[in-house]
Subunit: 226 residues, 2 copies
């Protein structure tokens, strides 16, 4: 479902400096796979995830999603993908600040015109243990609670591809385990799951681990049955 070929991403900073965040990434993910992306801070994980999630474009290289070349898609097609087919859990949450937890989770359902949006959003917040925080805005929640609202928002549309960028970074062990079992359930129901983590215990839940270092793929192996 994901096929990248020689993905390169360069950032220009002023006239003299250029940062190569990705230096030619070839990554293939089959439908229904669970892949963990690991690597040091600054190695290019979020940059790669943003391109896979159609939120950013590479400097060069190709990216085919479910067989279609993304660079040739219309902005409507991309918006559709982002709203319904792909569930994106951002490393910095990206919640709407003046909107409650419930409204933030309801938003993608309203965008798609799904009936019963409020009820489904309440359910998603229950999956992540936040039933008693529905009417809090992001700045009225702890950081780990904000992260869980972002997770509920990504899963509420039942997307077929879930891209999770460090979904447990701000959670205690028990909340982390609850989120991982939630993601495992979604994966068992047939979803494709790509998850960035710097925690070994979290990466071990995956079937396959891919490692980035300085914008290059240095490791790509299936792990023993998790």
């Amino acid at each position: 479902v994901i096929e990248t070929c020689q993905l390169v991403k360069k950032y220009k900073l002023g006239a003299a400096t250029e940062v190569s965040a990705l230096r030619g990434i070839d990554l293939q993910v089959e439908e229904g796979e669970f892949v963990a992306i690991m690597g040091p801070s600054g190695s290019g994980k979020s940059t790669l995830m943003n391109i896979i999630g159609c939120l950013d474009v590479p400097t060069s290289g190709t990216y085919r999603l479910s067989g279609s070349e993304v660079s040739r898609m219309s902005s409507n097609q991309l918006a559709d993908l982002r709203a319904g087919k792909i569930g994106f859990i951002f490393q910095s949450f990206n919640l709407l600040p003046r909107t409650t937890a419930l409204e933030n989770v309801e938003l993608p359902l309203n965008y798609q015109g799904v009936p019963n949006a409020r009820k489904r959003a309440e359910e998603a917040l229950e999956w992540v243990g936040l039933s008693d925080r529905l009417h809090h805005r992001p700045n009225e929640l702890s950081i780990g609670q904000q992260q869980r609202v972002a997770i509920a928002r990504a899963l509420v549309t039942h997307p077929s591809l879930i891209l999770a960028d460090e979904p447990t970074g701000n959670l205690d062990t028990r909340a982390s385990q609850e989120i991982m079992s939630l993601l495992q359930t979604v994966h068992r129901q047939g979803g494709t799951l790509v998850l960035i983590t710097h925690e070994m215990e979290i990466g071990q839940h995956a079937q396959r681990v891919v490692r980035l270092r300085d914008g290059l793929l240095v490791f790509d192996e299936s792990v023993a049955d998790p």
Copy 2:
């Protein structure tokens, strides 16, 4: 150096809802101690830290910092404390968005009128491994890099009290270890260090672990020599 008595913090949400984030906290920290504050997501760790760091006031209860009751301090005294004596590493970094990493770290030194501010800021960014990112603004840095800029900014004034809220949450193992040895060095030089973490391996670096659950202190013990 820190002495709280029955600290309570309540948030009112609309007319009907009240959240008790802290329900009567008694915490005493001696000068030169290294204490880890742990506990589930939403248990009140950041709320407690913000009161200790004089960034928030309790609903009731007393807080004495180096023997002085904080609620009786003038706003100038509080600003002085926050600028020079207390180094605060925020869980969400709180960097100035339109300012480079170097300028963000230099800011507290300029506020104090310290000479050689630029050189000292460069040094602090070297301690956290970001010498090659001095002129990047926060949105031109990875999340873990932003966290390390926040750490450099807190340490550059050589504060006597360091309050670190999840300083390694977004870092890989190696970068985490580098930050912990940096904090250990500061502690060995006589600093008082209060560190919030949800990671057991990080908590084990401390001499004493304090656990919060639902706004109450449920555990407070010295750990074996780390």
